[in-house]
């Protein structure tokens, strides 16, 4: 990972988040689910990094660990050079304002009994932004205009809004505390396609305006290819490939990335066939395969892949965790 330069906003080094598996009446710890197991990732100011992968790969846990909604087991989370993982929760509080989250289901993310005004102003209250209720209300109106909602509707309740409008409310709420990083966890996945386009355009506008960085956690590769600056592909707790979006989509290196990209159906009626993707199913993160975790599904595996951890191969602008990538580079 090339995380040099002081424009790096967030840098994860060796991030680990493990969950204990407890068994028996004594609830002894019988093992660990290594949901996130040594993740390195850097996000620069104003860029969009997509974290992609299938269910259970750990992408959502990465987002939650960064926000310390789940306490990480190890590794560092550097925000503007400060290791957040080492802070007490009181010390961490001001940083929470810098990193906000927008989730998949805007229906359950909003308190049904709170007006839109109160939902959006909630963070301002918590961080003491704005001199008083009137100033906050004025700021809510401004935020609503920013996300193309009618400020006149601020005294209504979430159920009076459509799914797309509710997601706009969630975005306004996140922006209210002036974050530098927005973690979008499947933020457009539950929306209809015509509404998804509206929200993606809104996110692009906000980024251009405010130099916002996005960590875009999603399984939707069409959205990633359209929207992200860089892509990190996760498989069973680890990043297996990372690089600029164009390069990843034009010339993927890891066999898993290749399979994932091949499984995206095209919209071109002349290209309807899906190439055979990965074999079988995603294994359980509680019991990952030995060696390279992808080896049982890999079409080009070697004998050693089931025995040894794959090497991390760095390239000029990205990395790949695969023995074949190492050989490829050695041949050059």
């Amino acid at each position: 990972m090339t995380a040099s330069g002081n424009d790096v906003l967030l840098e994860l080094r060796g991030l680990r988040t493990w969950f204990p598996i407890r068994t028996g009446v004594l609830q002894r710890v019988a093992g660990q689910v290594k949901a996130v197991d040594g993740v390195d990732l850097a996000i620069r100011r104003g860029e969009t990094v997509a974290l992609v992968g299938e269910s259970g790969c750990g992408k959502t846990t990465v987002g939650r660990s960064v926000l310390r909604l789940i306490e990480p087991t190890g590794g560092s989370i550097r925000y503007d050079g400060v290791d957040l993982a080492a802070l007490t929760s009181a010390q961490f509080h001001p940083y929470r304002r810098r990193m906000q989250v927008v989730m998949q289901d805007p229906g359950s993310a909003l308190d049904p009994r709170a007006t839109v005004r109160d939902s959006i102003a909630e963070g301002m209250d918590a961080f003491g932004i704005g001199a008083g209720p009137e100033e906050r209300t004025a700021r809510v109106a401004e935020l609503m205009r920013k996300v193309s909602l009618d400020p006149e509707t601020m005294w209504r309740y979430p159920h009076e809004f459509s799914g797309g409008q509710r997601q706009r409310i969630c975005i306004a709420r996140a922006l209210a505390v002036e974050p530098a990083l927005l973690i979008c966890d499947e933020a457009t996945s539950a929306l209809d396609v015509s509404i998804q386009a509206q929200i993606l355009n809104l996110l692009a506008d906000l980024q251009a305006e405010g130099n916002l960085a996005y960590l875009f956690i999603t399984h939707d590769l069409a959205v990633v290819r359209y929207f992200a600056t860089r892509v990190a592909v996760m498989y069973l707790g680890r990043i297996v490939e990372e690089g600029p979006t164009e390069r990843i989509f034009a010339a993927p290196r890891h066999p898993y990335t290749k399979a994932l990209l091949a499984s995206v159906p095209s919209l071109d009626p002349a290209r309807r066939l899906i190439r055979p993707a990965a074999l079988g199913d995603v294994p359980s993160p509680a019991n990952p395969p030995s060696g390279c975790a992808y080896h049982p599904r890999c079409a080009v595996r070697l004998a050693e892949c089931s025995l040894k951890d794959p090497p991390v191969v760095s390239f000029a602008n990205g990395m790949c965790r695969c023995v074949l990538a190492a050989e490829e580079r050695a041949e050059r």
């Binding site: 797309g164 015509s194 995206v264 899906i274 079988g280 199913d281």
Partner: protein, 331 residues
Amino acid sequence: MSAPLSGPILAIDRLAVSFPAESGRVTVVDRVQLAIAPGETLALVGESGCGKSVTALSIMRLVPRPGRIEPDSRIRFDGRDLLSLSVPEMRALRGGQIGMIFQEPMTSLNPVTSVGRQVEEAILLHAAISAGEARRRTVELFGMVGIPEPEMRVDAYPHQLSGGLKQRVMIAMAMAMRPRLLICDEPTTALDATIRAQILELIRNLAATTGTAVLLITHDFGVVNVVADRVAVMYAGQIVEEGTREELLARPRHPYTQGLLRSIPRPEARGRRLEEIKGAVPRPGQWPAACRFHTRCPVAMAGCYIHDPACSDVSPTQRAWCHLVAEELRQ
């Protein structure tokens, strides 16, 4: 409709479904007309609340109460009027000649019975064969839908199988009686990308090898491109455009179909703004009068606010319900 000489296996005409609301009944499916030929896969596409799933439920006569299929509606399956069948007759058809697959394989399977046993029970419900024969047939079906080690997997319980394998079990169950029609409602929406690709290939191959007609309900044009022969697009309870897969993906004529396809993020659009369809998807009960898309349509004309659009034949296989398309065809 491009129905072959043998006639369609399924023909829907003037299908209307309503639910009670505070102010009278609200229509959720409105005068839908559709036909599927034997061996053909028709995709019914639209956004949430457009009525596509209720259309599928109507065919199985599973519209939840207090919903009601309006008396004028016609659904003919293999020449029989489905809406006049008795409850036992309909029950024999469901899971027999009409198979079904839903989005959530997790909630469709009984968690305390082995998956093999569930498929065997489904077979024994419809066929007068021995338990041993049903087991043999289940193993065969598991093999057909690509479940590895089918002899062992029949004894597995749902929680022991991944989402992809559970969906394969559901497909095996739906295909058990060699149905003439398979209804798939968002069959891959809950699945991961690599698994989705496998399941789509499976559905397409099954349709091709068994001659089963497929009605595929989806919101995803990528899925449409992989599986469908023909496509019908629904908006606010009505079909607004219909055509072959090539026609609708390459040459859509209705502004809604065009808008939907343009709003999908494509590689070419990188760095540019996506084209949006303005406004929100209207909820049932709040559908505009005349052409229901006029409130969101970028090319709406005066007549669109006043008159229902009539059906315009764009080609022998493509048609659209749109005033603008009608005018373009007149010129």
